[in-house]
């Protein structure tokens, strides 16, 4: 009798042990992406405890195409078209720093007019990139108007770039030694008209999106990245400037003719998602001023491209050059062994550096804040994967 009771008790105990909830059981694992409207070409695994994210692990590499290895098999000029593919809507900036690095290696001087046209194309492309980012940010916060308006205005800038370079998004415009061709006739007036129109539109963006109470509630105070943490994680671009650090490669280390241009670094001190989404918008405003100055100061005539030998090459050496792209500092580290093909090319992109902030910001925040944090990081997965 005792034996039976003991057995019964043991069975009950065992059953209770099985049913007993552990800490792990309360967590639910969610896989966001790659087939997910909000994530793009990227996947991250998150674990949620109720409403709060307790674990996040990014899993990039879905568009890893081995650009750095391919570079070693092509010469310096052949490399340009495939190097702009990681970020085709900001393609002038990603080839800009590549051209600067090759120019330093091969000791090429760029003519003054070429430098101005280069900077002009780069600023126009920054607008195209930021408008695309803003459109995606808008639609994933459920604001359809903010998808349609920037997409529509982006087409106008694309028209300008198409007139300048001949292609809609993949320009291959910057080459070592300058730019591929001169500006077309009547480009200055067209550009000025477009910039004047766009500045008017920017105030409307502010009214409908940035002053929208729903948008502000979803972003203000969400995903705080303090100044110290921003430095520690080594983020760059708008994410850095939103954390109150006025750092811009165009000011810190002026390349080409940027030291002759008068502009301010736009930064905010609130460190939240709202600041991170506003800083690119302020950059667009500032970029309009830069475009005006560039058009004014541009020499009326002259060469746009230095004469190059067929396969440009330099002495053995290495160079690291960076520019300010739409997502922050974009650096190229090129090692040359004296042949026309680079020995090693490393692309240091803003997206890859900002990815480190994603788990940091997501852990501890609510699941509903995930889209506003993720897209505020100004992250483009294709560029991060390279």
């Amino acid at each position: 009798m005792d034996n039976l009771e003991q057995k019964f008790n043991e069975t009950i105990k065992m059953g209770l042990d099985i049913v007993k909830e552990t800490e792990e059981d309360r967590l639910m694992t969610l896989s966001v992406g790659p087939q997910h409207p909000g994530s793009g070409h990227f996947r991250f695994t998150i674990k949620v405890d109720g409403d709060y994210i307790v674990y996040c692990d990014p899993d990039p590499g879905y568009v890893h195409r081995g650009e750095e290895k391919m570079c070693e098999y092509r010469n310096f000029i052949q490399n340009i078209p495939h190097l702009e593919r990681p970020i085709i809507h900001d393609s002038t900036n990603i080839t800009y720093s590549y051209s600067l690095a090759v120019e330093e290696l091969a000791n090429i001087q760029v003519p003054l007019r070429g430098q101005y046209i280069r900077a002009l194309a780069s600023e126009l492309n920054r607008q195209v990139y930021t408008l695309y980012w803003l459109a995606i940010y808008g639609i994933f916060l459920g604001h359809s108007t903010m998808f349609m308006w920037p997409m529509g205005d982006r087409e106008l800038f694309i028209d300008l770039l198409e007139a300048l370079t001949g292609a809609r998004v993949t320009h291959a415009f910057n080459i070592p030694g300058g730019v591929r061709n001169d500006v077309p006739e009547g480009f200055k007036d067209r550009c000025l008209r477009q910039v004047a129109y766009f500045e008017k539109r920017l105030t409307e963006y502010e009214d409908i999106f940035y002053n929208n109470p729903l948008f502000r509630q979803r972003t203000e105070g969400v995903g705080i990245l303090t100044k110290d943490n921003a430095i520690k994680l080594g983020v760059t671009g708008s994410v850095l400037r939103a954390s109150g650090i006025p750092f811009d490669v165009r000011k810190a280390e002026p390349y080409d003719i940027y030291n002759e241009i008068d502009f301010k670094i736009q930064y905010m001190k609130t460190c939240d998602s709202f600041a991170r989404s506003t800083v690119p918008f302020l950059d667009m405003k500032e970029s309009c001023h830069i475009i005006r100055q560039l058009l004014d100061k541009m020499p009326k005539s002259g060469e746009v491209r230095a004469k190059l030998q067929p396969n440009p090459k330099g002495p053995p050496g290495e160079s690291y050059k960076r520019v300010e792209s739409g997502r922050g500092a974009l650096g190229y580290y090129i090692v040359s062994d004296g042949t026309p093909k680079p020995y090693r090319v490393k692309i240091s992109v803003g997206s890859f550096r900002n990815m480190l902030a994603l788990p940091f910001l997501l852990i501890g925040s609510k699941l509903a804040d995930m889209p506003s944090i993720y897209w505020s990081l100004n992250y483009w997965p294709v560029e991060a994967d390279r």
Partner: protein
């Protein structure tokens, strides 16, 4: 389901729980055969104007795909490419650019989960042959090795107009297909 040796089985043999799937398949076949002549045109017409794509971005052509949904090109006015969340309600998959070795199993998984009928558009040079990345170690030389492609849209990236034209070609193709 459509194999010939099953035709000899009588309908009454199939009416039991174990053979239920075969019964449904047979009934479906009979239904499509009966409907093909009188209603095929109407069913294909319905399919033509509701080509909804899966929102799976494989590479950088997604930028031009996004531009196609924007206000200037506005493909939704044709009732075709409306980017949609759930793949269970989609019948079109637009492979937007390079398919890497890491993405390929996911792409096949997405394709397998879509309900029939389903169509595939390979968008961009990378999805057709590998394009610029033909000699890369991590890129598939064309997407048709893993999923059957209906229409190839060339370009690097294709302009939105080209994507619209490719979709219209697919519509022509569907018009001539027997209903499945």
């Amino acid at each position: 389901m459509r194999s010939g040796d099953r035709d000899s089985i009588m309908i009454k043999d199939l009416v039991n729980p174990t053979n239920f799937n075969i019964l449904v398949g047979k009934l479906g076949d009979a239904l499509t055969r009966a409907l093909d002549q009188p209603l095929g045109y109407a069913i294909n017409w319905g399919r033509i104007w509701s080509l909804w794509p899966v929102h799976l971005e494989t590479a950088c052509c997604s930028v031009e795909f996004g531009a196609a949904s924007g206000p200037r090109y506005d493909v939704e006015r044709f009732g075709i490419i409306e980017a949609f969340g759930s793949l269970r309600q989609c019948d079109l998959i637009v492979v937007q650019g390079t398919v890497t070795r890491k993405m390929a199993p996911r792409l096949r998984m997405v394709y397998d989960q879509m309900p029939d009928p389903k169509y595939v558009i390979a968008m961009g040079a990378c999805a057709i042959t590998g394009g610029l990345y033909i000699d890369s170690y991590n890129v598939l030389p064309g997407v048709d090795g893993i999923i059957p492609v209906d229409v190839y849209v060339p370009g690097c990236p294709p302009r939105p107009e080209t994507l619209i034209q490719g979709t219209m070609l697919l519509q022509e193709k569907i018009k001539r297909l027997k209903i499945r």
